[in-house]
């Protein structure tokens, strides 16, 4: 009764539209609790959904990026001609359309005189000059070196009037002296060397002083496959007596433990037919990966010896015109991957014919430190530190690569490790030898 009176008193002070039935405290608490519970559930679900959504956004990015990276790596490693190469600057007498710039010509080509048994490159009978007459081995050498691949032997006599052909039967094809209409005697040759120019086989030129020959890989066709034309190494030399570019001041032969690096070129095949590549086609984009290693310091130290390099892996894109245009990393932090790429490890494999299988070259593994989302174009520390070249004498040329890399979800920072094995499509060791 007292309660009823109290309730009446409360109700009586309310305005008429609020004078409904009141709720008991327990009812209100139950309803409030349920409301609170529901709100909490909603909040939890919303929060979870938001997280899942973010995670999935990031995960999509991670997976798609992984796919792009795989594609790039496949293109880069799959269509390469992995050969031991040498680090030199791309220089020649004349680049197409450029005036002569002998100051920029690599000394290897200019090394006049008779250092060791190298024939002179300039001066009388020099490889690089239109000296006439060239005789004997030098003539043959020069013909092979610069003329062989570029002009069709069969059309030689027909091209006589242009100065590009054979003068008479019995001459060596592409006789040096037949080129005289292009440049005056004593002037420098003015065309780009073929991708593979062919001084090799120690017939006259001893000691074995090999350059990869035109015939070896698609005969200097400018086309695919093609390795770095700058290398001066004979990969199919069974004895492993690779000869490397001499540094200025070196004596011949090259140091016993030459330092080499390995170049890989993959071309953007979208633009290029294997047979129609032209060096002045600005559409051509080369993708190269360069492994280089700490260089041993030669003794005596040559005057112009380059700064020793740290081991690095570079993804570079070149336009071939002008070579080495400002490089653009394939995996740049500000483009494709954001800060996602955290680490990469590349393990090369060589094919061991005795074991009939691929053998990992663990001591040549490239292993990045944890990268701070920076571009892959940069230094990757080789672990363990070593001066071993990627390809070494003894035919350990990489035939496959295991690539592992870690991508980080930019939203949740979860890391995902991806892996890929890429097989090189071309085996340089299987190519015909002469």
């Amino acid at each position: 009764m007292a309660n009823d009176t109290a309730r009446r008193m409360v109700i009586s002070v309310l305005p008429p539209f609020l004078r409904g039935r009141g709720y008991t405290l327990i009812e209100i608490m139950v309803v409030a609790a349920i409301s609170l519970l529901l709100l909490s559930i909603v909040a939890v679900i919303y929060n979870g959904a938001l997280k899942i959504y973010e995670e999935s956004q990031g995960l999509s990015l991670v997976y798609e990026t992984s796919r792009l990276i795989n594609s790039d790596i496949r293109n880069t490693f799959g269509y390469v001609v992995p050969v031991p190469g040498n680090w030199i600057d791309p220089k020649t007498y004349n680049f197409p359309g450029q005036p002569g710039m002998p100051a920029d010509i690599d000394s290897w080509y200019l090394n006049a005189g008779s250092t060791g048994n190298l024939p002179p490159k300039t001066g009388p009978n020099g490889w690089m000059e239109n000296e006439n007459p060239l005789i004997g081995a030098n003539k043959l050498l020069l013909d092979q070196m610069f003329s062989y691949a570029q002009y069709d032997q069969c059309s030689g006599s027909l091209m006589n009037s242009t100065g590009m052909g054979r003068v008479a039967a019995g001459n060596m094809p592409y006789n040096m002296s037949d080129w005289s209409n292009i440049k005056q005697y004593g002037s420098l040759r003015g065309w780009w060397m073929p991708a593979f120019f062919g001084k090799r086989t120690p017939i006259v030129v001893n000691p074995p002083n090999y350059i990869m020959q035109s015939k070896d890989v698609n005969a200097g066709s400018w086309g695919w496959p093609r390795a770095d034309y700058r290398m001066n190494i004979d990969i199919d030399n069974g004895s492993g007596n690779y000869v490397y570019k001499q540094q200025p001041g070196d004596t011949f032969p090259a140091p016993a433990t030459p330092v080499i690096c390995c170049w890989f070129y993959a071309e953007n095949r979208t633009f290029n037919s294997p047979r129609t590549m032209a060096l002045d086609n600005s559409n051509i984009v080369l993708v190269s990966m360069k492994f280089s290693y700490n260089q041993a310091v030669p003794n005596p130290l040559p005057p112009l010896h380059p700064t020793p390099e740290t081991t690095q892996l570079s993804f570079l894109r070149h336009a071939i015109v002008g070579f080495d245009l400002p490089s653009q990393g394939l995996l740049r932090s500000d483009e494709t991957t954001g800060s996602m790429l955290r680490a990469i490890r590349i393990t090369p494999y060589y094919f061991d014919s005795a074991a009939n299988g691929l053998i990992p070259m663990g001591d040549r593994e490239l292993n990045s430190t944890l990268m701070n989302g920076a571009s892959v174009t940069g230094s990757i520390v080789q672990q363990p530190p070593s001066s071993l070249p990627l390809s070494d004498p003894g035919f350990k040329v990489p035939r496959a690569f295991d690539v592992e890399y870690v991508l980080r979800n930019p939203y949740t920072f979860t890391r995902y490790t991806f892996a890929l094995r890429v097989y090189c499509q071309i085996d340089p060791l299987a190519l015909p030898v002469n």
């Binding site: 004078r19 039935r21 309803v31 959504y53 999935s56 094919f351 892996a419 097989y423």
Partner: protein
Amino acid sequence: MITVEVRDRGSEVRTTKGFTLFETLVAMFVMLVGLLGVTSMFNSGMKSRVLAEEIVLSQELANMWADWVRFRLNDSKPSGYFLHSIDLVQGASGDFFQSTASGNFNADPNKLPTYQKKVYQGFLWQIGPGSSGPNNYKPQWVTLGALDLTNPANLRNWDQRLDNANIIAASMGSAPANLTQVELIVTRAGRSYRFNYVFSGVGVRY
């Protein structure tokens, strides 16, 4: 809904309506179910998204598998590391995450790079029933005028002329061995993705 009679001072009687506790609970339950419905839809969306990524991965794995096989496949080499066409039989299978496989596929001393990488966990492969079997696949051709590939009468083997005669003269010797078509099934959690590859037994030169 209940009706409540309210009597206040002055004996004025007024009636009002309200929800019972039970009704309130029912309404809240309905709201909860609706909420669960929404989250369920969200969940489905997320799941399909994850499945999309699974497809991406399965494609990458299938590509890698084909490279793996193509590099090792060489009928002229001793079996073991080298695969032979006869290894490409229905039922051959393996696990990308565990880097295990049946038969000669397991003879590769190198673990697949996917070994123990969690994103590849649960991805299995097998050679499916849609495969031709070893050296049992001949490419076929049709003429422009009869492009209906479902009509067997339009199809001729690559070594057949239009009049069905053998395109290879007897003096040329036997034709190259037939190819092997493989239906690769990449599976994860019971979901299958099918890919087709054709191999010859010639292999990469070594």
